[in-house]
Each structure stands twice: as C-alpha cells, then as structure tokens.
Symmetry: C2
Subunit: 165 residues, 2 copies
C-alpha cells in the first residue's frame, strides 16, 4: 500500500523534492523543539512553564516592561502574552500595574518570588545552551548565532500574517 517516495531530492515530475534533511525550515523546527523540551524538563520542577520562561527572562533583564513591550521582545501575539502573564500572576511571579501617566499602559513587575527564581533558573538555561552546543568551538557558536540572526533578518521584511497593523 505504501509507496516509498523520492527521498533523495531527485525529480518527481517537474517538482523538486525538498527532503527533510536539507530543509532549513524543518531542521530549525526540530532543533527548536529539542531545545524547548530539554528546557522544559529543567524548569518545570520549579513551577515554570516554557510559556512563561522568556517573559521571565525579559523581566529579569528589565523589570517593569509594559505588556506590549514584552510581546514585542518575545515575538508573541498579545493574546499569548496575556495568557502567559495571567498564569505568572496566578503563580505569584508578577504583578501588573497601570501606568500613572498613560492609563492604557500596563507595567509588569516581578514579585520577590519572581525575582528570586533568577538565581535558581538562569544557571539551568546556561546548562541547556551548554548541552545543545556541547561539541561547538567558540567560533562554531558565534557562527551559529550569526546564521540564526541572519534568518530572522532575511525574513524580517515579510509582513506578519497575524500582526496588527
């Protein structure tokens, strides 16, 4: 019943194949997935989900960011940001405060508990990077980061299909 396709990138009719092994999109997805799962296994015992993780890191870098600014930095849509922040508030990691000057702005502030997690969890993030790039020379690592930045730059002009104007 199953017919084995042409997995080696040859011609099938007029359409070139794009085997998973040489597909940047697929490999990016799989590498990202592996990294997120590893991270998850490290941080979940501390009550933090991968959904909260990057918001927490952004706030460790700069406490008091607005919801909108957090969305921009993490590259999430506002509803996703709201879901994560609601869970973080419930977990006692953040509080939200309306801006006194501009009432439309909501600032996100770490609680002492949210602050304290930094010393506990940031070393785990280092471990993830360490493990993911275990056999990389410093030059490899710099080059890899350069490629990842280039991909983002190359796609940056593309209009975001989800994005508000």
């Amino acid at each position: 019943m199953a017919t084995t396709g042409d997995e080696n990138g040859g011609l099938l009719g007029v359409v070139h194949d794009l085997p998973f092994e040489s597909s940047v999109g697929y490999q990016l997805r799989m590498a990202n997935r592996a990294t997120q799962r590893f991270l998850q296994s490290k941080i979940e015992p501390h009550g933090v989900t991968t959904g909260m993780w990057y918001f927490l890191r952004a706030l460790w870098q700069e406490d008091g960011l607005t919801q909108r600014e957090l969305s921009r930095r993490i590259g999430t849509m506002e509803p996703t940001t709201l879901t994560a922040l609601t869970a973080m508030e419930k977990a006692g990691l953040i509080s939200r405060e309306r801006d006194l000057q501009d009432k439309r702005k909501l600032h996100v502030l770490l609680t002492p508990k949210g602050h304290a997690l930094r010393a506990e969890l940031l070393p785990l993030a280092q471990e993830v990077v360490q493990q993911a790039t275990a056999d990389f020379t410093p030059e490899d690592k710099a080059r890899f980061l350069g490629y990842l930045a280039a991909v983002q730059r190359n796609l940056a002009d593309v209009p975001d299909p989800d994005g508000a104007a």
Copy 2:
C-alpha cells in the same frame, strides 16, 4: 519604576546573565518563529495550516505511513498528530485505513487532492528556504544545517518529558 537590568552579560550577584543575543535557545526560537510565520503566509491561501504542513510533506515522501510513524518523523505527540490528521481528513487531503494484518495500526493515505497539492506547495517551501538563507553561500547553508543537526544530536539522549515509554 522600571529598573534596567544588566543586559550586557555582566555579573549580577553570582549569577551570570544570559542575554537574548547570545542565547542559542532564544535565537533558535525566534528564527523558527520567523520561518513558520513566513511559511504560514505562503500556504494558508491554499487552505493548509502550518499544523498540517509537515505531515503533508512526510506523506508526499511516503504515502501510507501509520499515525505512529508520522508522529515519530514530525516529532509530535500523538494527540497533536491526531488533531492535525482530523483537520486534514476534514479538508479532504487524507483518508485513514486500518491495517489488514495489524488492526491497531492506522495508515494515512493522501487523497488525489492531497497528492495534487504537492506540485502547488512544494515550490513555496523552496521559496521559504530560499528567502530565509538568501545571503548564505552553499558552504554557509551546509554548515548551518550541520549545526542544527548537532543541536538535535546533543539533546537526543535527554528523556522526553512528554514522551510515552
């Protein structure tokens, strides 16, 4: 109210910072997100979501794979696979057939419509890869794919927290 954190990777107490610019996990996530969004903008006009996309590609390579085998190839949990396949069935792209020898196995088969999309959509995937790596030399591209494979290999021994035994 906002206190600007130490974004340059210096010491804060005893914990080293891990700025987003040099965080492989964060950059992987952002590069993957940019690629998936670009892909989405290309394929959605054809009625295919990014959730269906990699299943479709796996089936174009090898029609008749079982649900379990599809999960393994795409790296998804079985419930995620089921959700995608149900949507694909509803969209008339696949049908499911029980294995005659082993009734626990369900084979996934492309419909003529699912087959026909290959000629239409695979060139779009090529375009995504093209755009994402527009300024890469062939050596850069090979090196980048090598790094992405290395990350997956380096994290492969880690037990999957979601995985069934």
